[in-house]
């Protein structure tokens, strides 16, 4: 074992550099293949049309609409709760307090629970317990709320994306200078007024970043909605909270595994995947941009 040290050094650099380059190439290859496979099929009719002929032809508008509706309802439920939690953690309790540590532990745990378990929870809690209970009280047991629908799917997704919102908003609140808070308090404003008029306006970018990241995550996750509301194919768009819905990620899964003719629908699968990728990447890039903007402010 008398390998010259110079060679070992080169070997180490080669292995680590190779890993980094291989990862980068892998990302670019995946994106490249999806773009190449789907770009040609990405027409106006595809984006604005409905599936036709047993989902072998036509467009994906219902899936785009369903995804949009899902993330909107999810944000309405999740962003306020996440924002308030972040405010509480930073403005009301200290880093080392019992309450703060308990909530932080809960948020970390929530972030680590597999998406499919959220789906199970949505089924057990929202659909069977809340929905089923509401049906017993309101409809005498007739099935109305106690089945998969877009409301339960959105709430399940809101829970899944809650940690994303909390972490983002916290990061923004931390960049609000201490002097601003103290100045406001010194002028006689109460703590709540300080939060409402000073801290929150200064944290708007962070809240927006959190919402965007949550939407990006929510649009990409399929496991939690597999049995809480996503549907195979629907002739009509959902027009109420008790309707099921089509969704982009679920559409990709269905089309590539359970379609009547998997080979013939390849272009549709690639184009749907491309739409989903474009959606999540656009969202992620805007979040990165906003965050960069925010960091700039923190340094100034």
């Amino acid at each position: 074992m008398n390998i010259p040290k110079k060679w070992v050094g080169r070997g180490v650099a080669l292995v680590t550099g190779g890993s980094a380059i291989a990862t980068v190439v892998l990302v670019l290859v995946v994106i490249g293949i999806v773009v190449q496979g789907g770009w040609g099929h990405l027409t106006r009719d595809f984006l604005l049309g409905s599936p036709e002929q047993g989902m072998t032809k036509g467009g994906i508008f219902p899936a785009i609409f369903g995804t949009f509706l899902l993330v909107t309802l999810m944000s309405l439920a999740g962003v306020p709760v996440g924002t308030i939690t972040a405010i509480y953690l930073n403005e009301y309790v200290g880093q080392q307090s019992k309450a703060g540590r308990a909530i932080r532990f809960a948020v970390n745990t929530l972030a680590g629970i597999p998406a499919i378990v959220f789906g199970l929870f949505g089924l057990g809690f929202f659909i069977n317990f809340v929905g089923g209970g509401a049906d017993k009280v309101l409809h005498g047991g007739a099935l109305h709320w106690g089945q998969p629908n877009i409301l339960w799917a959105s709430l399940t997704m809101a829970l899944l994306t809650l940690p994303v919102v909390i972490v983002s908003v916290e990061e923004a609140i931390k960049t609000v200078p201490r002097e601003l808070r103290e100045g406001s308090l010194a002028l006689g404003a109460t703590r709540l007024e300080t939060i409402w008029k000073v801290v929150l306006p200064q944290s708007m970018t962070g809240i927006l970043t959190g919402a965007i990241l949550a939407i990006s995550r929510g649009a990409g996750e399929v496991a939690p909605i597999l049995f809480t509301g996503a549907a195979y194919f629907l002739p009509n768009l959902p027009d109420g909270l008790t309707d099921q819905f089509m969704e982009l990620g679920y559409h990709i899964y269905i089309m590539s595994t359970q379609s009547v003719d998997v080979e013939a629908t390849k272009p549709i699968q690639f184009a749907t995947t491309l739409v989903l990728l474009i959606l999540t990447f656009t969202l992620n890039f805007s979040a990165i941009f906003l965050r960069w903007h925010l960091r700039g402010r923190a340094l100034r």
């Binding site: 040290k5 050094g9 180490v12 650099a13 680590t16 550099g17 890993s19 980094a20 380059i21 291989a22 990862t23 980068v24 892998l26 990302v27 995946v30 293949i33 709760v81 308030i84 939690t85 405010i87 509480y88 909530i103 532990f105 809960a106 948020v107 745990t109 929530l110 680590g112 629970i113 597999p114 998406a115 499919i116 378990v117 199970l120 089924l123 057990g124 809690f125 069977n128 829970l159 940690p163 709540l192 649009a219 990409g220 996750e221 399929v222 496991a223 597999l226 049995f227 990620g249 990709i252 899964y253 590539s256 595994t257 390849k266 699968q269 995947t273 990728l277 999540t280 992620n284 990165i288």
Partner: protein, 368 residues
Amino acid sequence: MKRRIRIGEFLIEKGIATVAFASLGAIVLIFLFVFREAMPIFAMAPESLSGGHESISATGAATVGVSASYGDPVGEPETYGDPPADTSRSGSPAAIDPAAPTTPPTPSTTGEPAGSVLSQILSGNWQPVGDHPKFGILPLVAGSIKVALIAILIAAPVGVFAALFTSTFAPRWAKEAMKPIIEIMAGIPSVVIGFFALTILASLVQTVFGLDYRLNALVGGIAMSMAVIPLIYTLSEDSLSAVPKHFTEGSLALGAPLWETNLRVVLPAAIPGIFAGVLLGLGRAIGETMIVLMATGNAALLSPSLVEPVRTVSASIGAEMAEVVFGDPHYVMLFVLGSLLFCISFALNAVAEIFIRQRLMAKFGGAS
């Protein structure tokens, strides 16, 4: 007037506190409801879990030995992330890792019926549909472990090495170019990775290795590593970047070459964070659903082979839950599987948390 405002504020502040505890409440609710739906398993007669009486004695006898050898205490999930330990395990992939908690939390006092139910659950047949359904979760647990181990064996070295490169060796321009691209990888939805594995990767792997089955544990594992690499990379990168600069400078000043400094000084100092990243990556690999659902072939086989189709715990829940009848033994079993996933991810998270906190303590302790 002033007083009324104060009362309003008091109420609002109480409201804020209440909402803030929502995430804590959510964890408790998830725990309660996932386990509540799984609870009937303990009240169930063994007959309802396995079809005919004649099969009970056979599977029962067969599983006694199994449950004895798998009765290892639930523990040391941390040995997973340890690269040397992994290498030794990959040498004998046949061994189903006893470190994974295969048993749902059984009260030891439930007596004979529960024991039978337990032996049914620990049998090697998962045939949930049919006249004589069988709910042995061993093939599913083995499938999850196979896929997760392949994924982590690929993702841990690649992720850590890539992080070491961008945080230490790489020139500034290379770092600025590579880091965002690897982080973009984290934003690729898992269903897209699953689709890529299903349509492109599976054929590629089949051709390269000349395999009989297009979709198998190997394809699932490779695809899964794509979901895990960015996680391990990001946490390792954070940890490596947090190593104080004077460590590097001191080592270089003593005449050690750059590679030796990075490998023997910077890397060891960052180990706790890297380890936490690998643990979280393992948790992700075990819990991730869409990739395995699309890329592993979904056949519940209990075999030592890495190139045969497998069905994982998470994929079973994802594929079967939509079709089961509410309250059915099958429904209950899927919730048992969900509880299992919950426990595993909870344990891995808790251990990772300890490592991250230790790192912080060391950092602050060193600074003072």
